[in-house]
Structures are given as C-alpha cells and as structure tokens.
Amino acid sequence: MSRDTLTGSRIRERRAMAGFRQADLARQVGISASYLNLIEHNRRRIGGKLLVNIATVLGVEPSLLSEGAEAALISTLREAAADSVAVQPELDRVDEFAGRFPGWAELIADGHRRIGTLERTAATLTDRLTHDPHLATSMHEMLTMVTAIRSTAGILADTKEIEPEWRNRFHRNINEDSQRLAESSQRLVEYLDGAGDAGAALTSPMEEVEMMLAAHDYRFPHLEEDGEDIDAFAAAQPQLTTQEARAAATVTLKQLRSDARKMPRPEVAKALEEVGLDPAMLAQRFRVSVAVVFRRIAVLSDDLLPEPVGIVMCDSSGTLMLRKPIEGFPLPRFSAACPKWPLFQSLTRPMRPIRRVVTATGRESKQFTCYAIAEAIGLLQFNEDPLYRAYMLVVPSDIAVQGAQEVGSTCRVCPSTDCHGRREPSILVDGI
C-alpha cells in the first residue's frame, strides 16, 4: 500500500480528534456519508478541492492529511519489525499504522532506538577489552612490561654462567620495566576507579541516588530542619538525572529526615558516649526500631565515631538498595552480593537482631562486626505476608576474633576456594 493512499485514515483520525461525526463532515463538504466512509477507509482516492474543503472544515493544513507520517518513522518501524523474532507484525499495514496512530508509532520507534542504544552499551560493557580503547591499551602496556620482566628474570635465574656486563644490563632492564609496570598499573586503577568509565552513562536511579548521597557524605544537616524543601533540593542535585532518580532520592531523604527527628544529633552523641555503639540499647533509649538506629548511626558515624560505619539495605529479593560503603568491606555495584552476609541471614529470621563478627576475604582480611535485622515494611494486615527489608550495619572491628566467618563481596572477585555458596568462578582464582 503506497503512502498517499492513507489520506483517508488521516482524515478519519483528524475528524475523530475534532469531534465530528462522519455524517456532519460529509454534509459540510457536500458528499454522502457513505462516500466519506469509503474515503476514510482508503477505498477511494481523494485529492484536489475536496481534500482542501475537508482540511478547512477540520482546521488543519491539507498537506497534513495528504502527507502524514514521516518516512523516517516508517523505516524505523520496519527495522523494529525486522529485529523482532517472536512477534510478526503486519508489515503490509505499517503505513496505515503510522498514519492512524502516529503517537503509538513514535513510541515504538522511540523504544526501538532506545533498545539499540542499550544493546550497544551492554555489548561495550561485556567485551570491554575490545570496545574500550583506553583499557585495551593499558592492558597491552602492562602485559608487555610483564613479558619483558618475566623473560629477563628467567634469564637471570636460569643462565648459569652469565657475563657481568649482561647481568648488569638485565638488572637495569628489570628495574626500568618494573617502574613502568608500576606506573601503568596505577594509571589503570585510576581509570577503572574514576570518570570516563564506559559504565558511567549506564546508571540506574538507585545508583544515582547513591552517588548523590556519597557526594554529600551522607550528611544533610540543613534538611533536618522543618522548613527545608526536599523536592527542591532533589531537583537541584546534578547526580540525579532522571525523574525516577529524583523521586527515589526524595523518599530516601525524607526517611533520613524522619530518622533525624527521632534521634537528634546531640542526643545521639550523648547516648553513644554513655552506652557505646549498642544498637539494641539505642533503640530502646530512643524508642525507635533497630533499622532507624542503623541508618542514623551510619549517617552520624563519620562525625561521632572513631571510624566511619557502613550500611547496606536489601529487599526480600536480595537486591541491594541503600549502600554506604566503608574501607575494607566492598559492596558490589552491579553483581549480586555474598550470600554469607549476615544481612541475608536476617531475612530468614525477620525481626531477630543478629550480631556477627566476620572477616572480609581479600588481601587485608579485615574484621568487621555486622549487625543485621529484617523489618516489615508497609501496614501489617491479617492473613497477608508482610514484605521485609533487611539492614546491615558494618562496623570496623579492632579486636581480632578467632574463627570469625569469612564473607566476600561478590563471587567474581572473592578468593575463597572452599565455599558452598559460590555461584560463579572467581577471576582471582582462575585468572582472567
């Protein structure tokens, strides 16, 4: 079906939008309702004076009726149809669809373009060595240095009789190369750590909220005042780029404000001095739930405690939501966390406070005292299972405890070799 045969569909749509009945429009332009009906169903060609008259009555440009949807839109729709595997849209009627439902057609085309962008980003992230030139170059540089060092060191170790000249030369080469290796590995870490990351553009609303909270060090003293407008504050934060992120941030900030009112800073400082970091005692003293104590302590710890305290929250599906990381206890960003965290144990025993000393796997093997609790959210209803959110407070521990359970961050970067919870091999154990 060629495009100009769709004039009828567009007339029908415009007529409906203008609130005319078929008979009304037909009478005003001097044709029968049944003839207009044929035109509107694209069974009669229309042009010339009649088209101009109809356009005048409908109050639109005649070209809008005769030209209609853009060719680009049609071609995007065709692409979307071609990419579809499971669904087979009526390709022969694509013009009609675009003509009759321009808004819906735009929506599909827009979705199709967006899927394309996301697929490219996903491909970039999965195969970063191929797509990220900076990363590929750094890796190449490092491997080159490692090769030179390995080969030279091998010569020095294995060659029984080596002239002093050569030996000195190889020593000097190893020294040079190890310096270059140190520099390039440092640059690589900086790159992976900082901006310019291919993943930087692909943040979820929750991640944007986390970035915003981190940018403020989780401190919002002015928002704890009554008059402060949280919505306006969220709208002004550069980290929050989407409406969803701003909405999520508003919810989080309102919760932090409500926590602050229940546990004002000076009183928390006083209580911490008197009872120490004892979440149960603090909950009793302020007559609040343990989760409120966790959140408030995490926020105030940077100022009131000798060392910052981390917090992580998840819902019953195990999805990490609120995150305040601390040194030595890495919280995974994209992948699922370690199933051994007390956080997840608390989900199996809701409302039961848990305290565990754990050792974080890794080079430093620091110990942490974890406090965890799962609390119901929403109203409790009879015969309805509540939903839970689990919180875990992560406190650096300075006294080493024997036999503390080992917990990791996420399987991919966990060196633990004998773990029943392992989901996937570690890149540290099996090599990259």
Partner: protein, 122 residues
C-alpha cells in the same frame, strides 16, 4: 652457523631478552622494531623463522603476515606470532593471516625456545 631467526618486536627489553636466549640456544638472531618496512626486511633477510609481534608501530602484525603469505619467497616461512591478548578472536585472526603458531604474552623463555625449535625442526 645456526639457523637464522628474525624477531620483529617494538619493546627494546623484550628484544634484548629474546635475542639473548635464542643466541644462547645457537640461533643467529636479527631484529627489527617497526611495522612500516617489516615486509621488505623479511624479504631481504630471508630468515629460517620469523617471530612477529601483533602490535607494531606503523602496521599490525596481522597485515604484515598477510602480505608475506602473498609473496612466493615467504609463503612457507614458519611464523610465530606474539600477542598481548589471548582472546579467541585474536587467535582466529592469526590463523587466518597464516601464523604457524600463536603465543600469548607473558610467555616463559622455555615456551619460546620449545616453540621455535618445534617450528624449524618440523
């Protein structure tokens, strides 16, 4: 006089180390360190074996090898390719370009020696 090997690699300290171990093993080693004129150098020096790095300034090892395989004098020359990326795609590219063997950095000296002995012995 031993067999002649040509090493095309741009990292001076790798050149030095590989030259050393191959010389000790009885090879006569010559080296070259850029991609631009690598094809001409191979044609002129007619070595018994070529060790070719993939990432070279001027022209990639893959391209050099492809050109060499199109010339009659280097059609059957044993070529050991070196790369810093052990990915499957690279290995396939090396095979398609006509590499006799493919080695991923960082390799050990004994791996290099085994590979060159095998390539020229066969």
């Amino acid at each position: 006089m031993g067999k002649r090997v040509l090493l095309i690699e741009d990292e001076p300290n790798i050149i030095e180390a590989i030259s050393f171990i191959l010389s000790r093993d009885g090879w006569s080693v010559s080296t070259h360190s850029n991609g631009h004129d690598a094809v001409d150098v191979v044609k002129e020096s007619t070595p018994d074996l070529l060790i070719l790095d993939v990432m070279l300034p001027g022209k990639s090892g893959f391209d050099i090898l492809k050109e060499l395989r199109e010339t009659t004098s280097a059609e059957t020359l044993p070529v050991l390719m070196l790369t810093a990326r052990g990915q499957k795609a690279d290995r396939e590219m090396a095979e398609r370009a006509g590499a006799s063997r493919f080695m991923t950095k960082p390799f050990s000296n004994s791996e290099v020696l085994d590979a060159v002995r095998e390539l020229v012995g066969s």
